[in-house]
Symmetry: C2
Subunit: 301 residues, 2 copies
């Protein structure tokens, strides 16, 4: 399944496939208010790395499944990620006017429309998951577990819990323990979900699901620490945003708690462990997962 062209070709290929699939998650013939469809598509098609869909597909292919069967869940996780950004940008939350260089959803469509577009994206994500069964014949019991995981990892014990903790952290209550809670739930949970769901579609063993969960936990945390590091040391042109924003906003970060060098070492350690755990889990083809872990570690934006 994986042609062995370089990782960035693979990532571009998957990103294109996912973007095409996302552009079709609200078929023309459906009776949806046009303004709602427009607001949903605006944020869905605003670009971004498509990291979570990539992880769904890479995990599925590592376990011997096809990328076609993984696509409905890949789209679902991107819808959930997108809804969380749309709501996060709202005036009552982070009050951001721009994301990835484009005006945020509520700046274009208004606050009420942005709230509803987010609600619709979240709800429709569950519809998309079901299509793994309807269109690709993945057994109902497996798809049910994916729905359950999505509700857990994106719900009050997962991503939304992380958002609430983050919001409270901005009021100056943060400890290293709380910072880890925020990172785990706000970022890693959806990454773990993506990997486990990809594995479930491929029908991997429970031990392999555990390996994917640990891999996801580690690369998710490394990703977040790397974000903190780049905010301190990165190149503003490559990042597409101002650096030192965490310092200016007095946000606590990994470097704040453990220092810059120890943060870099932690990224190395987590990445090595993530690679080790998927290497030792007996996957048909774990190479892309290993490459992705290295790529995330070495990214400069």
């Amino acid at each position: 399944m994986n042609n062995r062209h370089p990782l960035d070709n693979y990532m571009n290929e998957i990103s294109d496939i996912v973007s095409t699939a996302l552009s079709d998650v609200l078929p023309k013939e459906w009776d949806i208010p046009s303004s709602l469809k427009e607001a949903m598509n605006y944020s869905l098609m605003a670009g971004g790395k498509r990291l979570r869909p990539l992880l769904v597909i890479a995990a599925c292919e590592a376990g011997g499944g096809t990328r076609e069967a993984a696509l409905p869940v890949a789209c679902a996780v991107e819808m959930v990620h997108t809804y969380s950004l749309v709501h996060d940008d709202l005036p009552a939350m982070d009050n951001d006017d721009f994301r990835r260089g484009k005006p945020t959803n509520h700046k274009v469509f208004g606050e009420a429309a942005a709230i509803l577009a987010g609600d619709a994206l979240l709800t429709h994500a569950f519809y998309s998951v079901i299509q793994a069964s309807r269109k690709h014949g993945i057994p109902a019991e497996r798809v049910l577990s994916i729905v359950e995981d999505l509700a857990v990892y994106a719900g009050p014990r997962g991503m939304v819990g992380g958002q609430v903790a983050d919001m409270e952290g901005e009021q100056g209550l943060t400890s290293l323990e709380q910072l880890e809670y925020i990172h785990l739930h706000k970022t890693s949970d959806l990454i773990m979900f993506s990997l486990i769901a990809g594995g479930r579609i491929a029908g991997v063993t429970d031990e392999q699901l555990d390996a994917l969960r640990t891999y996801g936990h580690h690369i998710g945390l490394a990703f977040q620490i790397q974000d903190d590091i780049l905010d301190l040391t990165g190149d503003e042109t490559k990042l597409g945003k101002k650096t030192q924003s965490d310092v200016k906003q007095q946000k606590v970060t990994y470097p704040y708690f453990i220092g810059l060098e120890a943060s870099k070492e932690e990224v190395e350690r987590l990445t090595s462990e993530a690679k080790a755990v998927v290497t030792g889990a007996g996957f048909a083809d774990p190479l892309r997962l290993i490459e992705i872990a290295d790529f995330l570690k070495s990214r400069d934006h």
Copy 2:
């Protein structure tokens, strides 16, 4: 299963069972930020008629299923209904300070917390649906169809689509056709979902699912027209809110388009047809559904 005590005893009994179950959808031992749990529970436990859970359970019992097996989906639909109210009350939307005589969620917890509590309730509803399989052994294929229905009836083609159309309607764009679109999606869709889901749990036939859908469509629309009528003619003490608010807010209503008498006749006609369709569908025990249709028609608040 149904003891033949009067309908209001039955409704109180179901309401108590549902409220008890709802008070336990976020178990104490779960690691959720306490402020999030509090905001979710505040609106979940704020009372209300528990009409949608009643319909899930009544449809399930009509089809020969147990109320215990229907309870996870009954809780799910109430969570979805509750999230929609929390978001609808937000300043950017209807900007309501009170609901059922209590301060709205964002008045108590703040806007950001209310947005996130709504998001968490919506996500957690899907977790609750899955428990029909996990706790009560309902076959995975049936539960998958319930998840799919919930995503459709509550999503962009359903309830959220109705909310968007309603919001646009407030800008003076409304025709009778648009009013019907709003009522169908904003109100009837979740009612239809409740009935179909109850039927699916009981394992009724496709023809019976169609009957439940038609029944739900008719009582949902009758419910909404009755709301419009009560706003014109009702008793403020019984309603717990000011009458004539639609006229004052220049909201278009059924009486506005077709007159008060024709609106009352429409409620009668829809109720009769709803009763006829469930009577003729060969249910084990359709009496509660018939009684509920009559109850909704004659309600004065």
